[in-house]
Symmetry: D3
Subunit: 245 residues, 6 copies
């Protein structure tokens, strides 16, 4: 039995509020259990130097937690004068994951910046940020499309992410913070709606894992991701035309 | 006629959601028109060096905007490696204002840190942060009081804040961003519920102002602050015992 | 009786040394009692991005204290790697105050940077910096005028600043450090020579204040500012033609 | 055919020089093809705050590249004033991987800091750092053991790491930089000598991957890791007694 | 003929104003031609970690220029967030030079911090800072001595410094900025009043120099230093008892 | 007798490995006793702003130590967020010394950046960096020359550097760390192969020195530098044509 009474294979209740933010081209507030992440998408007509001249677009993510998103307050990164290593690692994952959802060459030389700010943390903030980040990105692409229609759908597939844990040989879907702190092995799985993986990160800092356990993890994660993909589609059905079939 | 149809002396609609944050000792999400600020209060059992040993408590504020709280995205301060001058100036104002609401010696050697994060900005974020900051502080004091009852009420009076502007000789209450950008003179008024002022900042960067205009500004501001004080009491009636009568 | 024997309404003795600095376009060393601030004005033929293309000029201030300007040595800000919040807040006030003294559109697309460095601090450094800053600015405008005569006088009026305090119901002009540390309410008043206010900052961190007290403060401050304006004119009579009448 | 003539399943030639550094408790210079990484291990008799009092030890890694380790010079991180996101992400991976190689509770409250400095980069620097990092750690544990014999072997198993790539459906072992830049999917695999995984990171930024491809990747990686584990044992046979059997 | 009409072997006119600063334990404003440097000495009852427990004292210097001390304004180091390399190099030289003037073991475990701030620069700011720094140090030692008399004189000898240049084979004493910018070889000479050298830095960035030229430089410098030592003694005759004979 | 058995006038054994680095235009690994420094030279087709438009080239050095190059680990400068003062001072010396070896106007508007990274420190790292830096620079000039032949040889002369110490009246060549820590006076001597000095830095922090001692130091240093110049020529005979005769 899990601390919050869920089954092993049960997601926390997820709510996606598209367009939470008035000024941003795209935005989504995700609530997954007690985890709340606000993602905004900003469209800019320029790309970083290493992309310039390639005709491709770019997606970049920034991730931060409000100081009291957590049980204990953490120092504000701007006051410390630098981002924590954990934030840097997470925002790189988010950026890679969402770049994988697009045909960057169909976007043209535009950047979309995804600001992922954790209002309240209870485990799974990075996966929530990816799932909501796709929504904010989708909405921003819709805004671009309304001004100048894309020749071909810019989206390769919906991207969503979920965590899976191994604890005493048991496989658990969508870990809360309480579960996460003493998990044996922790996976973050990022997948396209086609069923193909975009990123798999499995970390056995406290215990290692076998090929067989990995298979169980992927199977359980895939179920959760199917659900998340459906919730995404329900939240923004009018964006469907932007996805390549 | 004002851009959003309000009267000269009309506040924007204000909503105070006490306890928005699950982990913080106190919290309040304020929505004032399109401005949304989340304030959390964190209680710590230590005080800064310059207070240590005095038997007094301390209140400190930190203020930041999410990068896309505004029409144009601003750089994330943690990525730039430092806070903007504007943020520093504002958080110092918030800290002073809320320290003025307490008898710090009755708090004992505790710190309360107020994190004020602007989720969406449409003018008046610093005054909203003060008004909501008092709520978060009030709730945190209630939490402290439940563990160890204060001998005497720690609160001197409710603190709220409002902006007033001068434009072509007209006095306007509670400026939106659209009004603020080309105002002649801009005031931020911070007051106790007793009617005494805690802080008055009047800035005539584009035009100067006379003693008579100042009087009109203070009168109009006082009306708005009466309303805000009432909304505060409505949102947390059970905290009343913490205020000195 | 005040610690240094002054009357309630008496300024400290003020000395303005125009042109203290050999290389700067404008400069003024102000001594107000034991407070000594050196302000230099640097003219640059470019403006910040947010002004570019408007045809207007810009005035910007930077404020710092030498490490041993104070009783206790403070860490050098460059060694700590950042400015203190207090410095940032003060330099923003100085910048706003001096911008208010000019018709920025008559300056053309030029910047004037005012470096305000406190050699010795004994209270009132920010107001001294504004009063001396106007002198350095005035001299720099004279330098510009000698090269290319302004069509219309670029100065709206002389700007000076003074502090006023409330202590046990008494109103005191021009606080020394010793008085400032346990003042009840502290005002910084910035005014044009016309008698109109540019900035009023009243801070009742330790005690609040009434409308009536505010009136007394403004009246006493106005007297002090009249004196400072006269001293400014005496120190640079040849700059008079640069001021709009 | 691969650019350097290797077979699909062929490692680059690997050389491990144990004890390269005269002062460090442990050190290893690894050369894998043209990639050269120097890892030193420093033993300290203190642990970070979050470990203090637990009786456990801690392993921490820092990773950097010399500015001209690469084809193009990169800015020196100390001159830019901060580490790059990539460095932060990599050093967190190295730290986790090597903590997984130990029974931290058998180490006692000691820290071992692994400094991983890339002298020359040609792909696979993070996996080389892990493989060499285990060697430096092993040697440092031997130094500790000589002073005060461990009651039980502190090492759970040898840790090594290797990269595997997917390109046009083909699986390639141990990517050089030239191969890495346009790979479809890139894996970093970290494993104990027991055959259990410590960390799996698969990143399909440019293309996604299926469960079946993942299986092929893991099988090929396992072969390479067997070889690396053998090279490690050959380079430090006298350390064998420190590993739990 | 030199630009300011001096002879080859002529110092600029030097003025030492001891006790310029009201709060510091020691202070000296030096004017050497148009160069003006304010040095303050702060006494602290603690020493850096590497000295702690040795019974010795420590002298540390910090050097900075006001932004408009120079012909062109330089960025304020605190705003840039770091000291310039030049400042760091200079303050290390000043610290070494003044440590050499003392018997640090006679000082006891105290630090004296010398803040050297250049108000106006016209060449020779580092040598001026050393010459004035000795004065500020001397005065601070006198303050210490008044509270608790030193058993033995803490000063080994007066330290002063001067620059010498080589230009087209000519040797020039005490370079102004105008001379310094296109000098062939530039020397900074630091000496005890005994005639022994404390530091010699000769830099032939644009041209190299021979042993014979070096001898001429040292002879000319020694004459200038004799004069500076005499000016120092004239400015603080009552400190003589602190110097070992 | 010296700790490592050398004679007073004996260099440590020196090894110069030219071309250690595969990607850099020039590189040299120097081993001088236990000191190991890797210097790489990077050629860039741009110069700093203060050189732009002069037709001259520029040489710039950066110096750092690996954290465990020393007996005790030092904090990584990139993690602390800034370079140490010592590093800054040293890299400025290296830059000046190597600029002195060239006719910068014959280089044209190119920069050569010399990255000097200390892999292992045992005294004399700055002088080793200069001696090896000249080698890396020489090789980089050869690379430039192969693409577009220099009209006139760009090198004025070989630059090498050595340390000399004074201890109890004895003069010692090429100090190891053990000797350096309690030396009386420490010299770093930089010389052209012509016999003319480029930079002399003598620091008597613990004891002062006389003119006569200085002469002895220079004579002994000159002998060591002759040897180093010969080793340089032996290591890269084919570069001889680049040096003006």
């Amino acid at each position: 039995m899990r601390p919050d009474g869920r089954e092993r294979d049960q997601l926390r209740s997820v709510r996606l509020e598209l367009g939470y933010s008035r000024w941003a081209e795209g935005s989504c507030l995700i609530e997954a259990g007690n985890t709340r992440v606000l993602v905004t998408a900003t469209v800019e007509d320029k790309v970083p130097p290493f992309v310039r001249g390639t005709g491709q677009g770019w997606i970049q993510a920034e991730y931060a937690m409000l100081p009291r998103a957590t049980h204990e307050r953490t120092h504000r990164e701007s006051v410390r004068g630098r981002q924590q290593g954990r934030s840097v690692e997470i925002q790189r994952l988010i950026g890679r994951s969402l770049r994988a959802s697009l045909y960057l060459e169909r976007l043209g030389e535009k950047s979309i910046i995804l600001d992922c700010d954790v209002l309240q943390a209870d485990g799974g903030t990075r996966t929530a940020a990816i799932t909501a980040g796709f929504m904010a990105l989708w909405q921003a692409l819709d805004v671009i499309n309304q001004k100048a229609r894309f020749e071909k759908p810019p989206i390769r597939g919906q991207v969503a992410a979920v965590s899976v844990g191994l604890k005493n040989g048991q496989v658990l879907l969508d870990l809360s913070y309480e579960e996460d702190v003493d998990i044996d092995v922790d996976f973050n799985l990022v997948r396209l709606s086609s069923g193909e993986w975009v990123e798999i990160q499995g970390t056995g800092e406290h215990r290692s894992f076998s090929n067989q356990q990995l298979s169980q993890v992927l199977a359980l994660g895939a179920d959760g991701l199917d659900t998340l993909n459906r919730l995404q589609r329900d939240a923004f059905p009018k964006g469907a035309g932007l996805i390549e079939r």
